[in-house]
Symmetry: C2
């Protein structure tokens, strides 16, 4: 069976000068992959006719499917539509369903409809219009020399709506795709090269259509097995065998058996054990709570958090003693332990994570350099503390601390 190949073209100067991080492509890559379509290239180009045409030419040669996002807004820097019109031919015609939705969109918001908005309902008659239920710019499906090109807005939730309701179903109808299987094991605490060393024999013995990838992610290491094969049944069995071996080889450092965020992993354990949790955060400033509550339904086990950024707040809300802060400092085993004890009481929860550290760039000292973090986790009369030293910038130190704190609580819960 032929491998179905796709390219993603994202259009916009903001991507090239780094004003916008491209999260669309990653999301699209996951969806296409799940549908058995292999994204082989992603290309970002500016708001420039020649650059867009070159990308269409090149990607059309290499891939069966070319997905294009961006440049469909109502302003002068949005040139994707005229470029596509020139590329695929035809003339602009009004798409009635888009116009009707557009009118009711502005009516509902009691806003006047501008000519530039009405112009968004104009589409090349050389395309099939894909209705965008979440915005004003429609999707456009073109075909040329047996290749498929789909243009979508760059606004993430509009693009996602079009992908889910229109693009993926139409592609699945059009192509017979191989079965792509992924299975990810997440580990913590062992460096990439040491894991690789342990897996040397395992990797050498993998069947040729199963591939192992190493993906370090904020202190976690994700080990992803990918199988590409036409026959469903045998692929699943082989994958299971390979994954079982992988898991047994790394049992001592395994964190999870699926590619899930730490908030989901921790939430499942809390639900299973019927325990409630909370956090007392200094240096992470609410980011642990933020990751826990990013999970729908987290209100079933998460009650809340005290972000005690100031020492005053540590004392007033968590009952940390002034003497402790004075004698040992805010970043110390003693303080973080008292923060945890205070949070257990004041939040009335079964278990907590408490963190205090120095994220940088300022505030470090010889004894406590930037990246020094104390973490306390546990429940009543059973609090465990650990010292961590991260070596990065403020943002990455914070992300690493969030993952480390959740992992410490996970380990405590698993004892």
């Amino acid at each position: 069976m032929e491998k179905i190949l796709a390219s993603i073209i994202t259009i916009g100067d903001e991507l090239l000068i780094g004003q916008t991080v491209d999260t669309n492509s990653a999301w699209m890559g996951r969806q296409l992959n799940d549908a058995g379509i292999w994204v082989q290239r992603r290309v970002a180009v500016g708001d420039d006719r020649e650059a867009i045409v070159r990308a269409l030419d090149e990607e059309g040669k290499l891939s069966h499917i070319v997905l294009i996002t961006g440049g469909l807004g109502p302003t002068a820097d949005d040139i994707t539509k005229p470029v596509l019109l020139g590329y695929f031919g035809g003339k602009l015609v009004q798409d009635e369903p888009t116009l009707a939705r557009l009118m009711s969109f502005f009516e509902a918001r009691k806003l006047p409809v501008l000519e530039r908005n009405v112009a968004q309902a104009l589409v090349p008659d050389s395309c099939t219009v894909l209705q965008n239920m979440r915005g004003t710019a429609p999707g456009m499906w073109f075909e040329k020399e047996g290749k498929i090109y789909v243009s979508m807005p760059g606004v993430p939730h509009e693009m996602k709506g079009l992908m889910e309701s229109e693009v993926i179903p139409r592609l699945q109808e059009r192509f017979t795709t191989p079965t792509l299987l992924h299975h990810t094991l997440i580990t913590y605490g062992m460096g990439e090269s040491f894991v690789a060393e342990r897996l040397t024999g395992f990797e050498a013995a993998l069947p040729p259509h199963i591939k192992l990838a190493y993906l370090p992610s904020y202190g976690l290491l994700k080990l992803r097995l990918t199988s590409v094969s036409p026959g469903k049944t045998s692929a699943a069995t082989e994958m299971k065998t390979a994954f079982d071996t992988l898991r047994s080889l790394l049992a001592d450092v395994a964190v999870a058996e699926a590619d899930e965020p730490m908030g989901v992993i921790l939430g499942k354990i809390l639900l299973e054990k019927g325990l409630t949790a909370g956090t007392a955060e200094s240096c992470t400033g609410g980011n642990i709570a933020g990751q826990i509550t990013a999970v729908p339904g987290s209100s079933r086990y998460f009650k809340g958090s005290v972000v005690s950024y100031a020492n005053e707040t540590k004392m007033n809300l968590l009952g940390v003693k002034a003497a402790t802060l004075e004698q040992y400092g805010a970043v110390s085993e003693q303080t973080v332990r008292e923060m945890a004890e205070g949070a257990l009481k004041t939040l009335n929860v079964d278990c907590v994570m408490a963190v205090s550290g120095i994220m940088g760039p300022d505030g470090g000292s010889g004894e406590k350099p930037v990246g020094t973090v104390w973490i306390a986790v546990g429940g009543k009369n059973d609090i465990r503390t650990t010292l961590h030293r991260f070596r990065y910038d403020r943002s990455r130190n914070t992300d690493m601390t969030v993952v480390a704190a959740m992992n410490e609580l996970r380990k405590w819960l698993k004892l």
Copy 2:
């Protein structure tokens, strides 16, 4: 003066299947842009020899500079180095400074040095080695037919270190670059097409080398002016004139006059006014505090936060009345006002943001659909509440709420 063009190639299957979001390219784009180098294309390809070689060929034809990240790790899926060796020729030799750093790295961590680690010190003798002070894989600078190719590790903080200390300085030495100027005005509360309508005349009157871009971002709209010109002095004056006009045209919706995160904008106002702040967060789960504390030095004005995810926590820590919760519900003007009043007292701060809403996917009702958010901001005896309705998914609703809350406090502070 010739425009200096760059391409960025990122290597790794994890980018194509969407397991990793490419934040490196955005950061590199900003740095290169600041140095007067225009990134014209960004290409992501998989861990595949043929795909990498094709990208090197293509981008080398189009750009003066080709920056490559990824695929330099110690594991079997890291194939960038052998591919570069084949492409640029030469043989592998040991780089002594890298080997020395590598040995001391493992020694400091009391870890054994594996052969696969030692292999990271092997480099093609056809390259200039760029010392990576933050990791084990060195950077490699190649030249071929007048074009420059630089390979760096994909680990963000290692790549950043190499870019700052080696790549950017060397490129600036090599090329005479034009002056690229950017100036961004941030607005809130007016749709992109309405802003564009108001700016029609302004845009038409811009000099040909100044370009205006519209960048919607979580409810904010960023308007970026970019000037590309060889002569420093006149460019700055023209840019200033254009920006002053832009600002005066959008005075009623302007939020900030630089492309800064909302946390930075708010922090500057608080510092300037000498006020302290805190948050009481339900649906945002600590993310407002997280964005405020992402700013170095935020401890000068931010004391902390109560993340009151459970009603119990709203009552115990913020003093929200049981009767209020019962009569009006957790997502109501009354509740969010009491949360703000409670936070002012318990955190002992001059001003607060309090939010309560329904982020989805569950929990919505006819009267209070998903996306309904109440925000209260203000200080003692002066609390203002606003109702917001977002129409997105959980993650985006949360992000929009964080920005909206910070903007409401900004407006209150500016009164």
